[in-house]
């Protein structure tokens, strides 16, 4: 009876572990490539949660470099700028 009391929470524990790995998208090829920014003429992939339609421009700032901001684009050209939900630049780690 005591082991039965432990069984249900343990089953929940195992189910949660399975669900975490099943629903995570970190193994996708483009998981870390949600957009592109151009630094000194070169394109770099960045991970940001931006989309085509939102209220503000999707702009990022590299951590440690507060003076520069970069517009994020959907592809490696400037014709598809992404939009974001925040009016302030997102701080990201250096993609170079």
């Amino acid at each position: 009876m005591k082991s039965f009391k432990l069984m249900l929470p343990m089953l929940a524990f195992v189910l949660a572990i399975g669900a975490a790995f099943a629903f995570t998208s970190s193994t996708e090829v483009d998981f870390y490539a949600n957009g592109y920014i151009q630094i000194d003429g070169m394109w770099h992939q960045v991970e940001v949660d931006c989309e085509q339609q939102a209220a503000f421009d999707c702009v990022v700032q590299i951590e440690g470099e507060p003076e520069e901001t970069y517009q994020v684009y959907a592809e490696e050209n400037t014709s598809t700028p992404l939009k974001g939900t925040a009016p302030v630049p997102k701080v990201i780690s250096d993609p170079r």
């Binding site: 929470p9 524990f13 669900a19 970190s26 991970e47 925040a86």
Partner: protein
Amino acid sequence: MNTHRLNQFIKKYSKVTLEIIISIFVLIFVYAALTKLIEGDRFYNNLNNSPIFESSFFASTLSWLIPSLEVVVSLFIIKQKTRLIGLYGALGLMLVFTTYVGGIVFYSPYIPCSCGGVISLLSWPQHLILNICLLALAILGILLYIKRKKLANSLYYQSTGEFL
């Protein structure tokens, strides 16, 4: 309803209800903790870009502290002897999360994106409602556990003349 009937009602339904509450919290906390650990960069970026936290120090500290606490609380809840401590821990965590989400919904200058996992399908206000429900479940779990403990002590005393 007299005391005897109330005790009968609690005795009949509280065990199952408590087991369900415990399983829900174990499922949610372990899932949330592992998701945050697996997608660590994303969680750190979400915290770093949060309108509530001004410093990246908080983001880096919380990005490992919160999942660790969730796992510890889950383990405490699973183990029978530390179940009440675990439930109080769950209550504390839900209070913190609800306060944070409430701050985002009502006081934040803008609504950030906090994407990832199954729960990202919810909007921030929906997330707040979910958190409030889980908070209520934590309180119910604690009350049921304490009530069942008192009932068990009372029945044991009635049958043996001693306390557990």
